[in-house]
């Protein structure tokens, strides 16, 4: 009887059917959820209005930190009227960065032509871009759009104490 049991074990072992510690060594699924990062972006300022000013106002004594900026520059069915380049400007960011934007075109199929978006800008600041002066808003000033043009700007940011 013992002999038959041993033979059975041998067959199972050769077939690889005996339990081994392999299963126990697989990586366990983490149960504890990792909380959202304290430095995650908390809000997005947005506009698609000609000559609008986006104002990012920090909490008292804190600073604005910008994490992401995106722009979509599009023409409607007619196409933006060709004109001089436009600029989106800023205040309270050291260096006063600006972004250059085209007006579009009324020529079908041309860059920025009818129904087309000529610029999709996506900029990220993985560790944040800090405002120049704490306690002061940061602004993004949109240009006056050309006829038949729309520019959408989104700015992801949060208010945080400056270290």
């Amino acid at each position: 009887m013992k002999w038959r049991a041993l033979n059975g074990l041998l067959v199972l072992a050769l077939l690889g059917l005996l339990p081994t510690p392999v299963a126990a060594q697989s990586t366990p699924t983490p149960i504890q959820q990792s909380p959202a990062r304290l430095d995650s972006a908390a809000q997005i300022a947005t506009t698609a209005t000609s000559a609008a000013t986006l104002t990012l106002t920090p909490n008292g004594g804190e600073s604005v930190y910008v994490y992401e900026l995106d722009v979509q520059n599009c023409s409607n069915a007619t196409g933006g009227t060709v004109g001089a380049v436009l600029s989106m400007t800023t205040t309270n960011i050291s260096g006063s960065p600006a972004w250059t934007l085209g007006t579009g075109s009324t020529t079908a199929g041309a860059l920025g032509g009818p129904g087309l978006c000529q610029q999709d800008i996506s900029i990220k600041y993985p560790t944040g871009l800090r405002a120049q002066t704490p306690g002061t808003p940061v602004t993004f000033v949109l240009p006056t759009f050309a006829a038949n043009q729309t520019i959408r700007v989104n700015v992801s940011w949060r208010s945080a104490p400056a270290q």
Binding site: V22, S34, A36
Partner: protein
């Protein structure tokens, strides 16, 4: 050596080889970041709503968003711009979408990243992305990489 001893030795050798295999496969793993995005919501349906529902009491945290705006085999008639709109993100951001024109071409492709995450406004509440109504022959694809997480 008795037959019993031989069989036991063979069993022992087989088990040892199993362990050896297990150990060679056990090259030290680098665990995933606990704050890695865990799912991607997607849609390419006109006027669809993409809903990101967090676990109870937790918040949606978004890490990436990408859009492809393309025309199929027939040209799209140029039309007014449309928007992908959102709910439960502070500021209610929108994303401007052109109609596109050229058959077979993608007129607009963009990717947005939030390396530290973009947190929903209200915990325990879904975040939604509402797709625009597509023009004839237009398809807009949206992907949103996110996870559900407790807020500290």
């Amino acid at each position: 050596m008795s037959m019993k001893r031989i069989v036991l030795t063979v069993i022992g050798l087989v088990l040892t080889s199993h362990l050896a295999f297990a150990q060679t496969a056990q090259v030290q793993q680098v665990p995933a970041h606990l704050d890695a995005a865990t799912q991607v919501a997607t849609s390419a349906t006109s006027a669809a709503t993409v809903t990101l529902t967090p676990n109870g009491g937790e918040s949606v945290v978004i890490y990436e968003l990408d859009v492809q705006n393309c025309a199929n085999g027939s040209a799209v008639a140029a039309a007014a711009q449309t928007n992908i709109t959102t709910t439960n993100l502070t500021g209610s951001p929108s994303y401007l979408i052109g109609s596109g024109t050229t058959a077979g071409a993608c007129a607009q492709i963009f990717t947005l990243n939030w390396p530290t995450g973009l947190r929903a406004q209200a915990p325990g509440t879904a975040v939604t992305f509402v797709m625009p109504t597509f023009a004839t022959n237009q398809t807009v694809r949206l992907n949103v990489a996110w996870r559900s997480a407790p807020i500290q």
